[in-house]
Symmetry: none
Subunit: 198 residues, 4 copies
DNA sequence: AATGAATGAGCATTCATTCAT
DNA sequence: TATGAATGAATGCTCATTCAT
């Protein structure tokens, strides 16, 4: 692999990745055949293997690129914000925005986590996100703004809230992304009991 | 199907479901073949189709039974507790305990949610759990114990925290179930900022 | 693999090997598809893979069995003959007889020798045959019956004569196996010049 | 085909034939793809089909040219030698020299003989060689120098010795070409028993 | 209830060949 | 002459399911 591609070639590759990502999310990775993908694009089967060495590698590429993009979105929003609690809030909001705009990729992340072959691909990027977020939590604790608890665990809890709210709400079209984000932020910051409760 | 089974027959069925559940979780539902399952148990293929009409139905059965069991555990613990906040806490703890004891089933839940064919099976039971929890949240709000926000959203947030902490922590053996539960409860109740913060 | 087979199963396996060996010899190993083989036998494709783990393994099995059979034939004929020159002669005759009766396998031997994947399978058995024959040559040299030259080389020369005469003559039906054998024996024993020439 | 080629074109064609011949011998004709050949030379696929109408034709050309070259070598050496026995000897020596210098082509000859599509290509040239050699044998018989046996069979025997010794010895680097030739000549002339034996 | 054998549609992948540029 | 891209029939192989015993 690692082919030198012309502009046309890069277009094709992108088409394949986009189309396949949507089909994988809608019908499942395994049940979606390579034939289905190339037929959907109206091209011959050889085209697929000109751009990807296997169906497995295609999903791997989709996952890698999606994660890169998600992280890019998070970083762009957070850059320049000094307040750690605000950084956390903006991270939550940008993640929900991205997941809203790329629901099919969120589904693929969830699937990939359940298969030994794909889970390792998620690992690296997830760790970066996790570390970034944990750092903001630590900063917040030092500042006295955040409750003194294990930062790693707080991070996981935040990610869980974001993930589940996104999944449940955005899947059903019942809510707009910014409303979901408002609630997620409030819950993460104040919990169930809210300010001044014990 | 719906066969009248002898005691021995029920054992076989159970064996098949347990073994298959572990294989599905470890190797994925699609990549795990029926042949692999019956070979692992040292029986012929006929046995499989005596007890299940298809591979798909096998997973469906596994999912249904697992959800029933999880709900049973939750209910047993909560029964008789009048305080809604305590009910929520005990629900969180019992869920984490169960997921800790049945990690492979947690993986199957996650996978099932990504495939159109299996997601509906999760739906019904999830809704019950969701409704139960939402009711406790509503009670808490009425009591003035819980912050006045959309109960449905708070519920989803709680479930997200439980799910993600369980997944991340229990998968790596870094923590004991009760420690994870302590943190989950604290986060859900107090959020990041804790009592007395704005 | 290594399946426990019933009598019926053993028959099927044999059918597949025999049929495939003839097709491979007639049409070439690579150009002959698995589909062609199972169609020729009027069975489904799965049957093939019930008995052989791959097309490659099928040829390997054919080669192994053929070599075993050829050696069995050689040994049966030579057993009990003390004179080394007579042993050589009888070895030549039995080989030509076997190759005459199994021309298609002779073709497969020749093909297998040209492919890296199959050549090693021939090696072991060929070495045994080679060593047996070399021993007779050595005995003949010690007896003073055979010219004092490198026994290994003489062995290879004999095998070359047998192989080439068989290939050329038997392929064209121009000669009967025993006539070919007479000539091969005479050439190997006396060369071109014959007795009393320098 | 039959293209009028520039000097550069002839070079390219030669490159393709040489490279392909080595790959075919090392990896087998069928398993070696056209893509592999053009990649090995760092050119595009169009180049291949500019010089050859098909992969099949490429091997045919390789075989034809190799046989022409082998015959040229044999003829050059024999020219002007009147003694038929010496002509045979020199033919053997020149063949072994050539096969030693072109081992990969020897492998291709052997492969080609096993496939219906390529065997006919060998036929014509082999017949010429065969006829030449047979003529020398006949001359030797007339002179009373060679044992009175079927010249055609003696010819095949000689070719078998040469082929097998070359294949076995030269493949393993254990011997130099001229030593192998000495033995081959001695065996062909004197057989196993040598002068003065019956 | 259980087994070994069989089925055959379907899958991922390959590859000789062609085409537009 | 040469290239990257495309074609699509064909291949080896898998696997859920069924059948005969």
């Amino acid at each position: 692999m690692e082919r030198r591609l012309t502009a046309r070639g890069r277009d094709r590759r992108r088409q394949l990745m986009d189309f396949a990502a949507h089909r994988f999310a809608a019908g499942g990775y395994h049940p979606t055949s390579v034939a289905e993908i190339v037929q959907g694009l109206g091209v011959g089967k050889g085209v697929f293997y000109w751009y990807f060495s296997s169906k497995e590698e295609l999903l791997a590429e989709i996952l890698r690129e999606a994660q890169l993009d998600l992280r890019r979105a998070q970083r762009a929003v957070i850059a320049g914000e000094p307040d750690p609690v605000r950084r956390i809030e903006m991270g939550i909001r940008s993640s929900i925005d991205w997941l809203d705009a790329n629901r099919h990729l969120a589904t693929l992340f969830q699937f990939a986590a359940t298969e030994t072959r794909f889970a390792p691909i998620l690992r690296a990027s997830q760790e970066l996100t996790h570390n970034d977020l944990t750092q903001h939590v630590k900063d917040g604790i030092i500042d006295g703004r955040i409750r003194d608890a294990d930062p790693a665990i707080l991070t996981l809890a935040i990610l869980g809230v974001v993930g589940n709210l996104t999944r449940a709400f955005l899947a059903t079209e019942r809510a707009r992304a910014d409303e979901v984000a408002d609630t997620a932020v409030a819950f993460c910051l104040q919990g169930l009991l809210g300010p001044g409760q014990a």
